[in-house]
């Protein structure tokens, strides 16, 4: 149920090496980020489920000018296609391009303790 699809649940899963998503029981869309209702049709009947942790790069960029609070530069941010849905994550020292296979490989915490999924090339 949607009550279970919170940021806390998602973040706990990421720290545990899993990706949580939700499939809309009405329109069938799957989302990769917690929501109280389906962003595509508005239905509140969301079934939380584990997403695949392996996918292909849908799009990516290498950030050379980072925001304050991020010490590194030259890291990649990618949107990863997991089949039914996509999720955004971070890659370090990977140099992947669109279509490359990647797999979930941990996470990083930002300066306020929010985790981001970390992927690496397969």
């Amino acid at each position: 149920m949607s009550e279970g699809f919170t940021h806390d649940a998602w973040a706990e899963a990421v720290r545990d090496g899993r990706l949580l998503g939700a499939t809309c029981r009405d329109c069938g869309a799957t989302v990769g980020a917690p929501a109280a209702a389906c962003p595509h049709c508005g239905a509140r009947a969301l079934a939380v489920r584990d997403l695949p942790t392996r996918g292909t790069v849908y799009t990516e960029t290498t950030i050379e000018v980072p925001p304050a609070g991020v010490e590194e530069r030259g890291y990649q941010v990618a949107v990863v296609d997991l089949g039914d849905t996509r999720v955004l994550g971070r890659l370090d020292d990977e140099a992947v391009t669109i279509g490359d296979d990647v797999v979930l490989a941990g996470f990083l915490d930002d300066d306020q303790g929010n985790p981001a999924p970390r992927f690496e090339a397969v």
Partner: protein, 388 residues
């Protein structure tokens, strides 16, 4: 009948202004009122935009401060924050209020200071700008705003073969236009070679693919249709519409189509009773060169996938068949976040009045403005026409 009319327009130069926000806003607001021949006592409401004053300058609740400074205390003032679409959303709400008969005469405008010279450094502002991306599902990965549009543009390049050289042509064209705009932040031309030699910010974007951090303000006076003819140079607002896309980027059905822009454009064109091919020119939100390519397609000005080719072939130049950003766009004119939306309306009004000087689009009678916020999840599209 038009939904409303713009009867006065004003804006500061975009660039560096070591001036408090209310004083910067006043420079544009008073110019707009004088241009309209409207006294402050005639103004019934202020629709005010400022996106990041709280984070950049420790200033919030700016509506009454701005209103008091220009002699408008007493009337209703509302302040908008929709990232880079801030003052276009103020404009939309103003037009709706006038069209609905709630007010007859309103002032709309925005102000922002983003330059390192007058505020925070590049790293700090990059973080503040990134606050418009998703706090939990995008910011922790280190995503920046050049990165947001890089993700959209890279997929477009993959799907359609759009090239970095084509993107560079957008910058070259907009710098050329900006060189003719006395209020532009960058008043010099550039070349494809210079763009491609500049340092990478977030690939495929190099420094010269990115708009600058700017300070500036803009404002317009909006009046009811039946009052427009009592002013010297009214310009009709034929349509204005806003749509919202899904966030975060990963949950958008197809990120690079910028669906909110397509939805807003369809509604604005319908209100105006005109199609994309009836637009004599466009001002679009080219925060990055790739964003102009996506916007040109979303507005229906060029075919899907052909935005980069159109720029490289000169179709979007001032003398092309679909002129885009004669002002120089955000790229060369500059991008003081909260002032950008109404600055596009100022540019449309000047061309439709035939007062745009060297950069005038000849015989312009109808034009479209496209102002987006965040990852394009907020987009406002406005259609304006010379008054018959």
């Amino acid at each position: 009948m038009a939904r409303a009319a713009v009867v006065g327009a004003g804006m500061t130069t975009f660039g560096v202004h070591d001036t408090p926000l209310q004083e910067l806003f006043a420079a544009a607001a008073l110019e707009a009122l004088e241009d309209a021949g409207v006294e402050t006592t005639d103004v019934e409401a202020l629709y005010f935009g400022n996106a990041m004053g709280g984070q950049a300058e420790n200033e919030t609740h700016l509506g009454p401060t701005a209103a008091s400074h220009v002699g408008l205390a007493g009337i209703p003032v509302q302040r908008y924050e929709d990232a880079c679409a801030t003052s276009a959303n103020a404009f939309k709400n103003a037009v709706q209020a006038v069209d609905a008969g709630i007010h007859d005469v309103v002032l709309v405008g925005g102000v922002e200071r983003c330059t390192p010279e007058t505020g925070k450094d590049t790293a700090a502002m990059t973080r503040i700008f990134a606050s418009a991306s998703h706090r939990q599902y995008e910011q922790p990965a280190g995503l920046t705003f050049p990165g947001v549009f890089a993700l959209l543009t890279k997929r477009h390049m993959h799907e359609y073969g759009t090239t970095e050289e084509q993107l560079a042509h957008v910058a070259v064209k907009n710098h050329g236009n900006g060189a003719l705009n006395p209020r532009a932040h960058f008043g010099r031309e550039t070349s494809v070679e210079e763009v491609l030699d500049s340092p990478v910010v977030a690939d495929p974007f190099r420094l010269m693919d990115c708009c600058p951090f700017s300070d500036g303000a803009s404002a317009v006076v909006v009046v009811a249709d039946d009052l427009a003819d009592s002013h010297d140079a009214p310009v009709d607002v034929a349509g204005v519409a806003q749509a919202t896309g899904v966030v975060p980027i990963a949950d958008k059905a197809t990120p690079h189509v910028t669906q909110a822009a397509r939805d807003a454009a369809a509604e604005a064109y319908e209100q105006a009773g005109a199609r994309a091919d009836a637009m004599d020119f466009a001002e679009v939100h080219d925060c990055f060169t790739g964003a102009e390519v996506l916007a040109s397609e979303a507005l229906g000005l060029v075919e899907d996938g052909r935005g980069g080719v159109a720029a490289a072939d000169g179709r979007t130049a001032r003398d092309g068949d679909v002129p885009i950003n004669p002002s120089g766009g955000l790229k060369a004119k500059g991008h003081p976040i909260g002032a950008t939306g109404t600055a596009q309306i100022v540019e449309l009004a000047e061309h439709l009045r035939g007062e745009a000087g060297e950069r005038q689009i000849a015989d312009a009678e109808r034009a479209v403005a496209h102002n987006l916020g965040g990852d394009a999840a907020t987009t406002v599209v406005s259609v304006m026409e010379a008054r018959p």
